[in-house]
């Protein structure tokens, strides 16, 4: 995304390509009296082409940003569909409000930390006033830590390229911020969610994003230490998804499992979601939004690689859903719709980092592995780690975010990314001759797990102090969070809730807590 020096050269090349035919036309004008007139025509044509290129890039960045924004609806539907009817208004409200809460926090503080030292925005007209990165010097190299310009989008940041870039980056941040709401659903106090989300938007997300996309130290691993092109993450397998997944892991582990999720002997129980079609429609919305997520990350409609990116994205998502379907079919005799959805999303998460750098067969391989990996991860986290993640957010985003950046380090084929992060030559993975790139990817993954995990832990504890705990009372959890937490039932007309009816009260392997019939609401 942000790689000073790279986009500029690509932009220039494309500009010349676009200008080429125009030059020929200009030279072919028969009545041109002198070379001088031809030259001025060429200059005018070049100027027009350059302006058009910038305009195309602006429109592309904005429109793909709008697509990513709509992914919020997809997340809301997936998470609400996979949870119970008695918590549907609460789950949906979290997904709805994280958009506004996260955005304001990111506007005030987060964006400046992430992009304040961005340097020239090559594809968006070369704007270069976001140029203050706080860096430290270690071993003769400077390492960027965070940016310091652009708070509240005022001052030098009050400019169209910055606002455009903000919109695109904001919706990415919100994607990360909405991931923990799924893992912590059905038991999280709304007040705690609000405060925690402010930390994500203002600090946790922007710091890692700066290190990878804002000119920070992970992006400098290549120029400083010669490790490939530094940590490369095209559209956010680590920056967005692994960050969200690690925060979700910390949050879900600390808040504890839902009542009834584990029997006294530790056996995990199924707590079926209340609306599978809603979750699957949400998944489709996400698949659609992902075209913006990945292909928009060129920040340039004039970068024709967008064709490769978009197609790799759809291939990997499809392979993920097929991988999960086949795996579940073999393991349990039937394909499970909720895991098909997780499989598709896992494939999309994994291809997010390598989408611009790999071949179509690699994209299918990356997606297919992700589809199986997400199933294994769900069973492992649920059964072995005993961390209750109702929607599979940790497995989809955390585990496959990591797989995404590592797969780039393995399979990048050296056909794209010349000059990425200031390192000459295209991006190559381990299997294409650059082991250093894989090491850089590993460092990116470990850093994400440690740094984001630690920040999430701190934010969780701080939130606990500020709002007096994260967890609703046992009574509220039994009744459902809708009325006690947000004052409205999602389905006031529902005569009774399906989960209370279909689950046996006598089945010995099921915990007692969630078997009690719903108390009469209101």
């Amino acid at each position: 995304m942000t790689r000073p020096g790279f986009s500029r050269s690509v932009g220039l090349g494309l500009l010349l390509t676009l200008a080429g035919p125009l030059t020929l036309v200009a030279q072919g004008v028969p009545t041109a009296p002198a070379a001088l007139a031809t030259d001025s025509l060429v200059t005018a044509a070049n100027t027009a082409a350059a302006a058009n290129t910038v305009a195309i890039n602006f429109v592309w960045t904005l429109v793909t940003g709008f697509l990513v924004m709509f992914m919020q609806a997809g997340f809301a539907m997936v998470e609400t569909g996979f949870t119970r009817a008695k918590n549907a208004a609460h789950t949906f409200a979290m997904n709805f409000m994280v958009y506004g809460i996260g955005m304001l926090a990111y506007w005030a503080v987060g964006f400046a930390l992430q992009a304040g030292g961005l340097g020239p925005m090559a594809t968006l007209g070369g704007f270069d006033k976001l140029s203050h990165e706080l860096s430290v010097g270690i071993a003769g190299h400077t390492w960027g830590l965070f940016g310091t310009t652009g708070f509240f989008l005022t001052g030098v940041a009050y400019a169209a390229p910055v606002f455009t870039y903000f919109l695109f980056q904001m919706v990415f941040m919100d994607t990360a911020a909405t991931i923990p709401t799924g893992a912590m659903a059905e038991r999280w106090k709304f007040s705690a969610f609000v405060v925690f989300s402010v930390f994500i938007g203002a600090v946790i997300y922007p710091l890692f994003a700066n290190w990878t996309w804002g000119g920070g130290w992970l992006s400098q691993l290549g120029t400083n230490l010669g490790l490939g092109h530094g940590h490369v993450d095209f559209a956010g397998s680590s920056v967005v998804h692994m960050t969200g997944g690690v925060i979700a892991l910390v949050g879900a582990a600390l808040i504890g499992p839902r009542r009834g999720k584990y029997s006294a002997d530790g056996t995990p129980n199924a707590i079926p979601g209340h609306n599978i079609p809603m979750a699957l429609v949400g998944t489709f919305i996400l698949c659609f939004g992902w075209f913006g997520f990945n292909s928009g990350s060129t920040l340039a409609g004039s970068d024709l690689r967008i064709g490769v990116i978009a197609t790799n994205t759809m291939l990997a998502g499809a392979a993920g859903s097929v991988g999960a379907m086949i795996f579940l079919w073999i393991k349990y005799g039937k394909p499970d719709p909720s895991m098909m959805a997780n499989g598709a999303l896992a494939g999309l998460v994994a291809i997010t980092a390598p989408c611009a750098f790999v071949t179509a067969p690699s994209a299918v391989l990356i997606g297919g592995v992700a589809g199986v990996l997400v199933c294994i991860a769900v069973f492992f986290i649920d059964g072995k780690l005993r961390i209750d993640d109702p929607v599979g957010a940790i497995s989809v985003h955390g585990v496959n975010g990591l797989w995404g950046i590592l797969s780039l380090g393995l399979l990048a084929d050296g056909t794209y990314g010349d000059g990425w992060n200031g390192v000459p030559g295209a991006v190559r993975g381990l299997f294409y001759g650059d082991p250093g790139q894989f090491v850089a990817q590993l460092i990116g993954g470990v850093t994400n797990f440690v740094a984001v995990g630690a920040m999430a832990y701190g934010a969780y504890k701080l939130t606990e102090v500020l709002v007096g705990g994260h967890r609703v009372s046992a009574e509220v959890e039994e009744l459902g969070l809708d009325l006690p937490e947000v004052g409205a039932l999602a389905y006031p007309d529902a005569p009774e809730l399906a989960s209370a009816v279909i689950l046996s009260e006598t089945a010995p392997h099921l915990g007692a807590a969630h078997l009690e019939p719903e108390p009469e609401a209101v």
Partner: protein, 130 residues
């Protein structure tokens, strides 16, 4: 007069309804219920964990019938609701002490005879449309 309560498979409801209308029974209350009548419990998986579906979805029909309608009603339900597999349901017949139609105050047989029975039947069977 008898109160006939039948619990049937939801997927047979269209046939049962048509058979009852054909038999001239038009006063029916139906509700969605869950129940267990000796079927084997169903085990499914959700996200890798076992889900036991012990209770099955059924439809319950309740009809208050005057004596001449009791046997035709039972026959209609038997012929239309039966698949021969476990889980076809039950019919319960109970004596009915009194029936009062709220609109008019009519009692017993007068109260259980629909004023528009013919019309309702024709419409249900796909005949005249109003």
């Amino acid at each position: 007069m008898k109160l006939i309560t039948a619990v049937v498979r939801p997927e047979r409801l269209p046939q049962v309804k048509a058979a009852l209308f054909r038999a001239g029974v038009t006063g029916i209350t139906i509700s969605r219920v869950s129940g267990h009548g000796g079927e084997r419990e169903l085990q499914e998986h959700y996200r890798g964990r076992t889900v036991v579906l012990e209770f099955r979805e059924k439809v319950r029909l309740e009809m208050a019938c005057s004596e001449p309608f009791v046997e035709p009603t039972i026959k209609a339900i038997l012929s239309s609701a039966r698949t021969g597999q476990v889980g076809d349901g039950k019919i319960f017949v109970q004596p009915l002490e009194r029936v009062i139609r709220i609109r008019t105050g009519e009692v017993d047989t007068a109260a259980v005879t629909a004023v528009t029975a013919d019309q309702v039947q024709r419409r249900a069977l796909g005949g005249d449309r109003p």
